[in-house]
């Protein structure tokens, strides 16, 4: 640890008038799982495409595994494993054939290729489907094969671009487990993009939050949440007519915001201790409480605090801007 696996300095990508990635400066330590979190169109995939040498940056610089992404493309590609968003597989080939092909492209000798291929297929739980054509695979199986393929040449840095987007909860959890295990066992640095808070929270040692091309926050999930620090109380009156009075009472503790329909939320300045004071105050005003929730700060709160918007439930944004996807 401590050694830098990936570093960007003022990395930018411009498409015409659109600044897809804006002055990104990042450090990822070797062995770390870094979660790059942001909504659709935030610039996550564009960043990954630049770092994996598929897209030349407009400005700034970056090194991956010590190699400059512009000056030393081949050295970077040798050192990285990549699973891009589309899980690009050939539907006519089997998992084993994919493995053989991928190993062959990296110049791995036949016997070694077979051994590694079988081992990785086993590790991602595809042993039973290894000789079936990929056309019949589920979304989760394809992502797992993609992950295994990315590891065949024992890369030092692994890029996973939204590895679980479009997967059901079960497949998602299974993939998380595999990424975590593989990262730990192989000692690879993982650069993972996601639009799921839970994914970043679960997998990442450190998180960078990107919005509209800009890095808005960076740190461990715990540190980021601690920075926001304060839990939120969400309250709804039993009688809807009491709504305004309830908002007035909450206003004594902070700036109330509209939460769920008919409910208001306020961020507690002095932590959980204030909860009792809120309950007493509401009681004192004779407002009957219909519902009262205490939310510990989440990465979503971090995102809200940094951007003024919520990350989840806001996934209908613009498509990720990238030209290499075609």
């Amino acid at each position: 640890m401590g050694v830098t696996a990936l570093r960007t300095e003022n990395l930018s990508k411009r498409y015409g008038r659109l600044l897809a990635v804006d002055d990104l400066t990042l450090d990822v330590a070797a062995g770390e799982v870094f979660g790059f979190l942001g909504p659709n169109g935030a610039g996550k995939s564009t960043t990954v495409h630049m770092l994996t040498t598929l897209l030349p940056p407009t400005a700034g610089s970056a090194t991956v595994a010590g190699h400059d992404i512009v000056e030393a493309g081949p050295a970077v590609r040798d050192a990285i494993g990549v699973a891009l968003q589309e899980a690009a597989l050939d539907p006519l080939l089997t998992a084993r054939e994919h493995m053989r092909l991928q190993a062959g492209m990296h110049g791995i000798k036949k016997d070694e290729a077979r051994r590694r291929g079988d081992e990785l297929i086993e590790r991602v739980g595809l042993a039973n489907a290894a000789d079936r054509r990929v056309a019949g695979y589920s979304g989760g199986m394809k992502r797992r094969l993609d992950l295994a393929l990315a590891l065949v040449h024992a890369p030092r840095v692994l890029f996973l671009d939204e590895p679980t987007t479009g997967l059901d909860v079960q497949s998602r959890t299974a993939l998380w487990e595999q990424v975590a295990n593989l990262a730990a066992e192989h000692g690879v640095t993982v650069f993972l993009t996601t639009q799921y808070l839970e994914e970043a929270d679960n997998l990442a040692d450190r998180v960078g939050i990107i919005d509209r091309g800009e890095l808005v926050a960076e740190g461990t999930p715990e540190a980021l949440k601690a920075e926001i620090g304060r839990p939120t109380v969400e309250a709804a009156p039993a009688d809807p007519d009491d709504r305004d009075r309830l908002a007035g009472v909450l206003g004594r503790f902070g700036a109330p915001t509209q939460a769920a329909p008919g409910a208001f939320a306020v961020r507690l300045a002095d932590g959980v201790d204030e909860l009792a004071a809120i309950v007493r105050a509401l009681d004192g005003e004779g407002i009957r409480i219909g519902q009262l929730d205490l939310h510990a700060p989440s990465l979503d709160d971090v995102f809200l605090a940094k951007t003024g918007r919520r990350l989840e439930g806001d996934a209908g944004g613009a498509e990720e801007v990238t030209e290499v996807a075609a």
Binding site: L84, A88, D90, E97, L101, Q102, H106, V324
Partner: protein, 258 residues
Amino acid sequence: MSTTLTQVHHLAGRSVMRVVRQPALIVPSLLFPLILLAVNASGLETATEIPGFPTDSYITFALAFAFMQGAMFATLGAGQSLAEDVQRGFFNRLQLTPLRGWAMLAGQLAGVVVLGLVQAIVYLSVGLLAGAEMEAGPLGVVVLVALSVLISLAFGALGLLVALRSGSGEAVQGMFPLFFILLFLSSASLPRELIANDWFQAITDWNPVSYMIEGMRSLFIDGWDAEALALGFGLAGILLVVALAAASAALKERMVRT
């Protein structure tokens, strides 16, 4: 084996496997030319009575036409496969490995060779069974297969070019009708000297497809015609070199990796 040769070997294997596993790609390329051959052979048999027609067996004359159509199917096979790779992102997967550009093209063309060989064997077997003659004998068969595979490679390279320029399977398919116009405006159905219509004859004189067909046809009808063979091999070779050079340039543009 060097790394690059290993890469070509693996990509060639994949390309052949893709051909074998897509019957929808092979069957039409085998059946369609044979059906057209049957229709032509029965309908145009009387053409052999035209004074100056080089043979009295129309099927002997028309068999080269089937080979030429088969070669044009190679465009579809190679081009669509590469376009699908681009669309599906498989191209990016390959780009992220130490793969060399020319190895990628060579690998894709390997499938063309295999399909070309299968086609040649089927057309020739059916043709000979149906009464076609091979004047140049067994060695002529070898030369015929070599020429037809070379023509397939040339058209396959053209398919790769369109796939790389457009990145779209539809664009590759869109070339197919154009090829058929080229085919029908050639000496495919009649010898050039017997085409009565002046503009038609002029076009067939300028159409390189005429000479590719005549090169193959000369083996069936005349035996060893050095000029016809030289023109056939020469033009197919030129088309292959030009198409490959253009495809390499297109590949360079598409491979944006640093």
